[in-house]
C-alpha cells in the first residue's frame, strides 16, 4: 500500500513531542493494532481519522498507559518510554480528554481540577484559597467562565471537558489527546472548545484530535494521519489534502476475495419495517428486506443500528411504528413470538448477548430450539446432542467435544455457535449484527460465504456492519443510519465507499 510520509523534516532541531512507530498490540488471537505510527509536534494540532475498528482507540489507550504495546517504539520528547499505568502516562505529561469526562459529581470544580494533589499550606492543610486562585487563572487563560466553587454535577459535557482540560493544564501536560470530544457538543460549544485548543497550541503544546467529522478536522487541525485496519496509512499536512482523498484512504482496500457474494433470486417482501421510533434512540426508520436479499445497514457505532435490530426482534421496546413479517404484524417487545414467526437475531456482543459462555456447545446451540426439541414436554439429551452435532458440522465449528464450555472456543468458533443456534430455528429473516467483529480473516470469509448461501436459499438477511468493505462486498442494498435517522439507501451498484461514508458522517453541505 502507498505510504506517504510527511516531509519528515530530517533537520528538525527538537525531537517531536510524541512519536509512535510501528506499534503492535493484539488481544489473544485478534490483532487490534498492526502498525501504529504517529508523530506529534509541539505547537501543532494533529488529527487522527479512520473507520471504526481502524485501531485509533487502541493507539490512544497505549499512549494513555491503559494498554501496553507488544512491539514497536514509543518515544516522548526523544526518550523511549513504556507505560504500565495511566499514572505513569500522566506523570510524563500526557493528558487524555475522553468523550464522556469522568469527574466527581459531588465535588467542586476546583476540587476536581486538583483531585489527589491539592496544594497545602505550611500546616499541611489543603490551601483552598491558592487552589481557587489557580483554577481561576487557568479559566482566564482559556477564556472561559466557569464558577470554580460550584459542584460539577449538572455541568454540561462541554464544561466538563473544559474542566478536564484545566486539569491537564494544571498538571502542565505537554501532550493533550482528545478522543472524539465533539461528539456530544452543540455548535457553539464546539467553537469554544476549538478556541481553547488553539490557545493551547499557541502555548506550544502538542494536541491530538480524533474525530469522525471532516469539517472539524479541516477547521482545526494542521496535520492529519489516516489509519485503516490497525495500520498507519498516511500523514499529510491538512492544506495538501481533501475530504475525497481522506475518505479514499480510509476505505480503499482489497475487497474482492473476502466477499464471495453469490447471485440469489430476490423474492417477495419478507420483513417490512415502517416508521419505527424510539425517542432519543432512532426515529422514523422504515425499510423492507426481501427473500434472498442481503440488506446491509451501515453507519458509525452509536448511530442506532443495533437498537433498531433489537427493537425488531423484541428485546428492546419502541414507541411508534410497526414491524410486519410476511404481511402479519409482529407484537412489540416479545422475542418469543418473533422467534416463533421466523426472526433470528445474531446479536452484536456474542459474549454477553449471544452465548452462555459457561454452558456447553450443545446447550448453546439448542437454547433457542429447546421447546421444539422436546417430546411431550420432555427433553432428552440424545436429541439435543444430535441437533448440536448437526449444526456444529454444518458450520464446521472447531471444538474438542460438544460438551466443551463455549467460552473455551476461539472467537470465530463462538460466532459459528451463535449462527448455528439461530439457523437451527430455521428463520425466514436473519438479522446479523456485526457478524464478523473480532474474528480472524479465514473465519470471516467462511461467515460471508455462509450468509451468501443462506440468501440463495431464500432467507431475508439484514446485516449490520461497521466495516464498510463487508457491507459493500455482501449487500444487495445498503441502508445508512446516522444519529438515529436513516440517511441513505443505495443499490449495490450505487454504493460506493465515498457515498456511504458521506451518508454516515454528518457532512454539512458547506464543508465540502
Amino acid at each position: 500500500m502507498p505510504v506517504e510520509m510527511d516531509g519528515a523534516n530530517g533537520a528538525a532541531v527538537a525531537p517531536p513531542a510524541l512519536e509512535l512507530s510501528r506499534v503492535v498490540k493484539s488481544f489473544g488471537a485478534v490483532l487490534a493494532l498492526r502498525s501504529g505510527t504517529i508523530t506529534l509536534h509541539d505547537g501543532s494540532i494533529h488529527a487522527l481519522i479512520g473507520e471504526n475498528g481502524a485501531g485509533k482507540s487502541t493507539l490512544v489507550k497505549i499512549i494513555a498507559g491503559l494498554y501496553r504495546r507488544d512491539a514497536g517504539e514509543f518515544r516522548l520528547a526523544g526518550e523511549e518510554v513504556d507505560f504500565h499505568t495511566t499514572a505513569q502516562s500522566k506523570a510524563a505529561g500526557i493528558a487524555v480528554i475522553y468523550q464522556e469526562p469522568t469527574l466527581f459529581p459531588d465535588l467542586s470544580v476546583t476540587e476536581n481540577i486538583f483531585m489527589g494533589r491539592q496544594p497545602t499550606n505550611r500546616f499541611g492543610r489543603i490551601d483552598r484559597r491558592s487552589m481557587r486562585t489557580q483554577a481561576q487563572q487557568i479559566f482566564a487563560r482559556l477564556g472561559v467562565s466557569i464558577d470554580p466553587d460550584r459542584v460539577t454535577e449538572g455541568l454540561s459535557i462541554a464544561d466538563q471537558q473544559i474542566i478536564e482540560i484545566a486539569k491537564a493544564i494544571s498538571l502542565d501536560a505537554r501532550v493533550l489527546i482528545m478522543d472524539e470530544p465533539t461528539a456530544a457538543l452543540s455548535g457553539v460549544e464546539v467553537e469554544r472548545l476549538f478556541a481553547v485548543a488553539r490557545s493551547l497550541r499557541d502555548e506550544g503544546r502538542a494536541l491530538l484530535f480524533i474525530s469522525h467529522r471532516f469539517d472539524e478536522v479541516f477547521a482545526l487541525c494542521d496535520t492529519v494521519t489516516v489509519m485503516r485496519d490497525g495500520s498507519y496509512i498516511s500523514t499529510t499536512p491538512i492544506v495538501d489534502t481533501s475530504v475525497d482523498e481522506l475518505v479514499r484512504q480510509m476505505v480503499g482496500r482489497d475487497v474482492a476475495e473476502l466477499f464471495p457474494k453469490l447471485p440469489a433470486e430476490i423474492g417477495a417482501d419478507v420483513l417490512v419495517v415502517e416508521g419505527l421510533t424510539r425517542a432519543g434512540v432512532f426515529h422514523d426508520i422504515g425499510f423492507t428486506v426481501r427473500a434472498g436479499e442481503i440488506v446491509g445497514l451501515a453507519g458509525l457505532v452509536g448511530a442506532g443500528r443495533s437498537e433498531v435490530a433489537r427493537a425488531i426482534f423484541g428485546v428492546d421496546p419502541y414507541e411508534a411504528g410497526s414491524v410486519h413479517l410476511e404481511g402479519r404484524q409482529l407484537p412489540k417487545g416479545n422475542p418469543r413470538v418473533s422467534m416463533a414467526r421466523g426472526i433470528a437475531l445474531v446479536p452484536e456482543d456474542r459474549r454477553k448477548q449471544g452465548l452462555v459462555l459457561d454452558e456447553s456447545v450443545t446447550r448453546n446451540v439448542t437454547l433457542a430450539i429447546r421447546s421444539s426439541l422436546a417430546k411431550a414436554g420432555l427433553l432428552w439429551s440424545a436429541r439435543e446432542n444430535a441437533a448440536a452435532a448437526l449444526w456444529a458440522s454444518r458450520l464446521e465449528v472447531k471444538t474438542a467435544a460438544l460438551d466443551a464450555e463455549t467460552g473455551t472456543l476461539s472467537g470465530g468458533n463462538q460466532q459459528k455457535v451463535v449462527l448455528g443456534k439461530w439457523l437451527a430455528t430455521e428463520p425466514k429473516v436473519l438479522i446479523v449484527d456485526e457478524p464478523t467483529r473480532g474474528i480472524d480473516v479465514g473465519t470471516k470469509a467462511e461467515v460471508h460465504r455462509l450468509l451468501s448461501e443462506l440468501a440463495q436459499q431464500g432467507i431475508a438477511i439484514l446485516m449490520i456492519s461497521s466495516e464498510l468493505p463487508e457491507v459493500l462486498g455482501m449487500a444487495d442494498r445498503v441502508l445508512v443510519m446516522r444519529e438515529g435517522h436513516l440517511t441513505g439507501e443505495f443499490s449495490r451498484a450505487d454504493a460506493t465507499p465515498e457515498a456511504v461514508m458521506f451518508a454516515a458522517t454528518a457532512q454539512k453541505e458547506g464543508a465540502l
Binding site: Q353, L355, V356, R363, L367, A389, S393, L423, E453
Partner: protein
C-alpha cells in the same frame, strides 16, 4: 443446508463428551456429597449406639421433611441466581393460619387449603416485587421475611394453638405401614420427581440454567426471564405453605415463631448439595443428599451425646469447606483453560500477522 458445501467438504464428526461416562457420572460434586452421606451413615451405624434403630430413621426423616420440601423450589431459585429468604416466615404464617382457622371451626382441609393458598399469595408478592417492580430478591425477601413473620406473630401473639383433628395429626406422624419411613415422604418423593423432571428434562429447566449464567443472553434467546422467576417464587411460596401445614400437624402446634431461622438451614443444604450461589450450577439429587447429610450428621452426633453448639460448629465447617472446595476447583479449571487459551492465542497471532 449448504448444497455446494457438502460436495467439497467432508462433514465433521464430534464427540458428544470430552470425558468417559464413568468420569462424568462419578467425578461430580453431587456424587461427592452422596459419597460423604454414605460414609457418615456407615460410620454412625458402626460407632453410634442406637443409630441403627428404626426410630432414628423415622425421627430423622420427619424432622428434615420441611427442609427437604422447601429445598426443591429453593434449588431452582438459586440456580437462576436469586434467593428466597422468606420461606421460613411463610411456614410460620401458614402454620398460624392453619391453627386460627381450625380453632374458628373450619373443617381442617379447608383451613389447610386456605393456608397453602396464602403461601402462594406470599410467593406472588415476592415475585411481583422482584420481577415487576425489579428489586433484588435478596432485599425483597429480607423485607418479606420480617413482614410475614410479623403478621404471623401479630395474629397469634405469644399463645399457641395445639388442638388439631387427630385424623390429620396421625396422618402427618404415621409411618408408611410396615416401614420406619414417615408418610410425609410420599408427597415429598412425588414433588421431588416433579421438580427433578422440571429442572433436568424440560425446556423450562434449561432456561433456568441459562438465566443463572447469563440473563442477557437468555433474554436474547427468547426466554421471558421475569415470568420464569415469578413462577419460581410462586412455587416457593406454595411449597412453603404446604410445609407450614405439615409442620403444624407434626408438632400439633401453631405458633408465630414456628420454623424460625429455617431458611438458613434450607439454603445451607442447597449450597452443600452443590448448587452455586452465583447461579447456573447444581442438580437436585445433590441437594437432596445435602439435606440428608446435614440431618444425618446432626442426628448421629446428638445420639452420640454431642451438644447442639458443637453440631452447629461442625455443620458450619462442612458448609464453608464445601463452598471453598467449589471455588478452588473452579479456580483450578479457569487457570487450566486460560493456559490453553494463551497457547492458542499466541500461535493464532503469529500465524495471522503479515
Amino acid at each position: 443446508m449448504t448444497a455446494t458445501a457438502s460436495e467439497t467438504r467432508t462433514p465433521r464428526t464430534y464427540r458428544t463428551h470430552s470425558q468417559p461416562a464413568w468420569r462424568r457420572m462419578l467425578l461430580t460434586r453431587e456424587m461427592a456429597v452422596i459419597a460423604l452421606l454414605v460414609i457418615v451413615i456407615a460410620v454412625a451405624l458402626a460407632v453410634v449406639p442406637n443409630f441403627d434403630s428404626p426410630l432414628t430413621v423415622t425421627y430423622l426423616l420427619r424432622d428434615v421433611a420441611p427442609i427437604l420440601l422447601i429445598a426443591l423450589p429453593m434449588t431452582l431459585i438459586i440456580i437462576t441466581e436469586e434467593i428466597d429468604l422468606s420461606v421460613a416466615s411463610i411456614v410460620g404464617l401458614t402454620s398460624v393460619l392453619t391453627g386460627i382457622l381450625t380453632e374458628a371451626g373450619w373443617p381442617f382441609p379447608a383451613a389447610a387449603g386456605t393456608a397453602i393458598l396464602v403461601g402462594a399469595v406470599a410467593g406472588t408478592i415476592n415475585g411481583f416485587l422482584i420481577t415487576v417492580v425489579g428489586l433484588p430478591s435478596l432485599a425483597v425477601t429480607i423485607g418479606t421475611l420480617a413482614l410475614f413473620r410479623g403478621i404471623a406473630v401479630g395474629l397469634l401473639g405469644t399463645t399457641a394453638i395445639t388442638e388439631f383433628p387427630e385424623f390429620w395429626t396421625d396422618l402427618a406422624k404415621d409411618n408408611i405401614p410396615g416401614t420406619p419411613i414417615p408418610g410425609i415422604m410420599i408427597p415429598f418423593v412425588v414433588l421431588a420427581i416433579a421438580f427433578a423432571v422440571l429442572l433436568h428434562f424440560t425446556p423450562f429447566g434449561r432456561s433456568l440454567y441459562a438465566i443463572g449464567l447469563n440473563k442477557e443472553a437468555a433474554a436474547f434467546s427468547g426466554i421471558d426471564v421475569g415470568r420464569t422467576k415469578f413462577l419460581l417464587f410462586l412455587m416457593s411460596g406454595t411449597v412453603s405453605g404446604f410445609a407450614g401445614v405439615y409442620f403444624t400437624l407434626l408438632y400439633s402446634n401453631a405458633r408465630g415463631d414456628n420454623a424460625i431461622g429455617m431458611e438458613l438451614s434450607v439454603i445451607a443444604a442447597v449450597l452443600l448439595g452443590g448448587v452455586s450461589i452465583f447461579g447456573g450450577r447444581g442438580a437436585l439429587h445433590g441437594v437432596i443428599a445435602g439435606v440428608l447429610l446435614i440431618g444425618t450428621l446432626g442426628s448421629a452426633l446428638r445420639l452420640a451425646g454431642v451438644t447442639s453448639d458443637i453440631i452447629n460448629v461442625i455443620t458450619g465447617v462442612l458448609l464453608v469447606l464445601s463452598v471453598v472446595s467449589a471455588s478452588l476447583l473452579a479456580w483450578i479449571r479457569r487457570r487450566r483453560i486460560s493456559a490453553i487459551g494463551k497457547r492458542k492465542g499466541r500461535s493464532a497471532t503469529s500465524a495471522d500477522s503479515p
